[in-house]
């Protein structure tokens, strides 16, 4: 009896203490904000982010920002959504640029127009700081929802030694699909039926595969998706059929590309080890190639069949919906600081992404860096022909609808035409609920 009563008393005391601790101390101090950030490429980014936020806190006594590492791009989306559901959204998130539309459809984003207006600038002036190619993934229905933070485009990487060996001039890289096919044939080495050196490698794993399909389709004159409306994709079209047929031909007709779906790391390893003489990969891998290739290499634009065009990749800074006014203000200060020319350039040099803020390229540090690493310039130059990254209602499943079929083609299990018809059908099915609410909701 006594024992249990004492226990009860003890429990009651613990309870009150916990209660007292739980009540937040209302003290005047800096506004505390959380920044969710993913590390999509390698571990060094986390340290760089720590440095960046430390500098921000030292120069902004009114705000105390905390960088919270949240895993991959996908994990970051999950954690942000979980935090929004729990009623404690982070003040700012570095979000994969093609997730913005889906989040906006789900009412999970703060419209940044009012904040821009409060600063006394117009939307056009604000967006004017960034490369035009990046606007598409930041603006939805003419409102700004994201601020570009770090971005990429796909590039053609060439092993210069192998090219010279095959009698090709690496300073004049292939510009069309015809030239690229020719190069790849000359760069493929065989011993009987066995290939000892592949002409070209193009990655295909979930995420990368869709991006490469968009790259090839755009170079073939296509669009992949409707940039103005999230309920349509153009999979079963001549431009995509040409793109997939060419990829299929590289494998089964010209035999210059490994059969099957090859993930990104396998492609870069293959290139570094000399097993593949050329590859198409993101600018995000440039630092990795620069640090690891033991041979001279050359980067070039993605060759065209109809026109030069590539999608962008990378991430934007966003603010989740449902933030208190003071947090919103603090987060806006942080976002503007992180995307300023100086910080944007610093982050670009640290990570290998290109800096979205155009003024970053006129800072003395950046001019010096580009002088030392001219290959970093190619990605920036290619931005002139870059277009937005596909973003639809339920971007990931709609992308997978295509990727699953492309993988079957690359494995020789389906022909391009029937695969694309199947992908279109599956994607239309995934997009159905959104169309039911928008394009097919009639008066």
């Amino acid at each position: 009896m006594l024992f249990s009563r004492r226990l009860m008393l003890g429990l009651a005391m613990v309870g009150t203490m916990a209660g007292a601790l739980a009540v937040p101390a209302k003290a005047e101090g800096p506004t505390e904000v959380d920044l969710f950030f993913p590390v999509p490429v390698d571990g060094k980014l986390a340290r760089d982010m720590g440095t960046l936020i430390k500098e921000f806190n030292e120069t902004h006594p009114n705000v105390k920002a905390t960088a919270v590492y949240t895993g991959s791009y996908d994990d970051t989306l999950i954690k942000t959504r979980a935090a929004i559901k729990a009623g404690k959204p982070p003040a700012a998130v570095i979000m994969s640029a093609n997730f913005l539309l889906d989040m906006q459809i789900e009412n999970e984003l703060t419209n940044l127009d009012a904040l821009i207006k409060a600063d006394g600038t117009t939307k056009e002036q604000f967006l004017g700081q960034f490369f035009p190619a990046l606007h598409g993934n930041a603006v939805i229905n003419r409102s700004v929802y994201g601020v570009p933070f770090h971005n990429s485009t796909p590039l053609l990487y060439i092993n210069a030694d192998k090219a010279k060996e095959a009698g090709l001039d690496p300073s004049k890289p292939p510009q069309t699909w015809a030239e690229l096919t020719d190069w790849a044939k000359k760069l493929t080495k065989r011993e009987g039926d066995k290939v000892t050196q592949w002409g070209i490698a193009i990655p295909c794993a979930y995420d990368y595969c869709g991006w490469m399909m968009e790259t090839l389709t755009m170079s073939n004159g296509g669009r992949y998706y409707n940039e103005e409306f999230g309920g349509e994709v153009y999979y079963d079209t001549p431009s995509m059929l040409g793109a997939l047929t060419w990829w299929n031909d590289l494998i089964y007709k010209h035999k210059v590309h490994t059969p099957g779906a090859t993930p990104g790391p396998a492609v870069s390893t293959s290139f570094i080890s000399g097993n593949a003489a050329m590859m198409m990969l993101s600018t995000g891998s440039l630092t990795y190639v620069r640090d690891n290739a033991k041979f001279p290499y050359k980067v070039a634009f993605i060759p065209r069949n109809v026109r030069n065009a590539v999608p962008i990749g990378g991430a934007s800074l966003i603010m989740p919906a449902g933030l208190e006014a003071d947090k919103q203000k603090a987060a806006w200060t942080l976002i503007k600081w992180m995307t300023s020319p100086e910080k944007s350039g610093w982050w670009s040099r640290a990570t290998g992404y290109f800096a979205p803020n155009m003024a970053a390229y006129t800072t003395p540090e950046m001019v010096e860096f580009l002088g030392k690493n001219p290959d970093a310039k190619t990605a920036v130059e290619q931005l002139d022909v870059a277009k937005p990254w596909f973003a639809t209602y339920k971007t990931v499943p709609v992308r997978k609808n295509l990727e699953d079929e492309v993988m079957l083609v690359l494995n020789g299990k389906k022909q391009p035409k029937e695969a694309l018809a199947a992908a279109q059908k599956a994607a239309d099915e995934t997009l159905k609920p959104y169309n039911a609410e928008t394009s097919l909701k009639l008066p």
Partner: protein, 316 residues
């Protein structure tokens, strides 16, 4: 009067024992109160993080949105029937069955073999046991990252050695016909050493005198294995089978790291399907329904196996 009397009787007779029962119950409760209080902390946490979550899944499985902007509405069993009608779910179940059988049987067979070979304790065997147990100590995610490079087409460790023998090098993780088996090899490599521990423990329980008697009676190694060791190991077999089956459903780290369910859904297992529904499709209703189905199947399986185990242990 004659009507009231029989009606009053049962009340009078039953009231006393009922009171008595209540008293006994309260006194018993009072006696065990400290025990309940001591259990309380873990009960609170179980309720918060296990039963609470399960309850939430149960509720979520009953609701669905028709369109993105529409409010969630009660749909009853519609989510469950939608999951059952989804070819991707059926595919994941089939993959998971192949995966469960294809990993449980070889890893248990290997574990038994290792345990029999290393049953006697001496320096060499201890070292070998440690070597075989090593994969268990490596986190699945780390192991998957390592195997990602072993399986690299053309340049990976595997192709480097096997490549000389095969005319065409397989794309281990990129070919939908091979990828699931590549994943299974890792699971077997990782789990065989763990199951070996259970068999080693089981072998300690084989009575020494029975073995000696069999030896004296002239039973050879095969007959001793077939008629003495294996029957004695039956409970171990059952236990390991349950663990292996549960692992086949709950351990999908390597799918996340290596294939993401691809290529073309060929390595999509049930747990990964649930992840896809919840995260990629943002369809909490369907994800919860799939979770419920999986949970029900696992619970039924576990209950069945442990009941068989209990009845066998209780038997002669």
């Amino acid at each position: 009067m004659s009507l009231a009397e029989p009606a009053a009787l049962p009340v009078a007779t039953s009231a006393a024992p009922r009171l008595h029962l209540l008293k006994r119950f309260t006194s018993r409760f009072k006696a065990s109160l400290p025990a309940y209080l001591l259990l309380l902390p873990s009960l609170v946490f179980l309720a918060l993080f296990t039963y609470g979550a399960m309850g939430r899944v149960l509720i979520d499985a009953l609701y669905q949105r028709a369109t993105p902007k529409a409010p969630v509405r009660f749909v009853g069993f519609e989510n469950i029937s939608a999951v059952l009608a989804d070819p991707a779910f059926a595919g994941a179940v089939v993959n998971n069955l192949i995966y469960a059988v294809g990993t449980a049987v070889p890893s248990i067979a290997l574990a038994l073999l290792f345990a029999l070979a290393l049953a006697r304790t001496h320096a060499v065997n201890s070292a070998l046991r440690a070597a075989l147990f090593l994969p268990v100590l490596i986190p699945m995610v780390a192991a998957s990252a390592l195997f990602l490079f072993i399986f690299l087409p053309n340049v990976g460790l595997l192709d480097y050695y096997i490549g000389r023998l095969l005319p065409v090098l397989p794309n281990w993780l990129g070919d939908p016909d091979i990828a699931l088996y590549a994943i299974m090899v890792i699971t077997i490599w990782k789990n065989a050493g763990y199951y070996m521990l259970f068999f080693l423990a089981g072998l300690q329980a084989v009575p020494e005198d029975v073995m000696e008697a069999a030896h004296l009676d002239g039973a050879g190694p095969y007959r001793r294995l077939r008629h003495i060791i294996l029957p004695e190991l039956k409970p171990t077999f059952l236990f390991v089978t349950v663990i292996a089956t549960l692992n086949a459903v709950t351990q999908v780290d390597h799918v996340f790291v290596m294939t993401q369910g691809g290529p073309s859904n060929s390595t999509n297992l049930v747990l990964f399907y649930i992840y896809q529904q919840a995260v990629e499709h943002y369809d909490i209703g369907k994800a919860s329904a799939a979770t419920l189905l999986t949970l029900a199947a696992l619970m039924a399986l576990t209950a069945l196996s442990f009941r068989t185990m209990a009845s066998r242990e209780g038997g002669p």
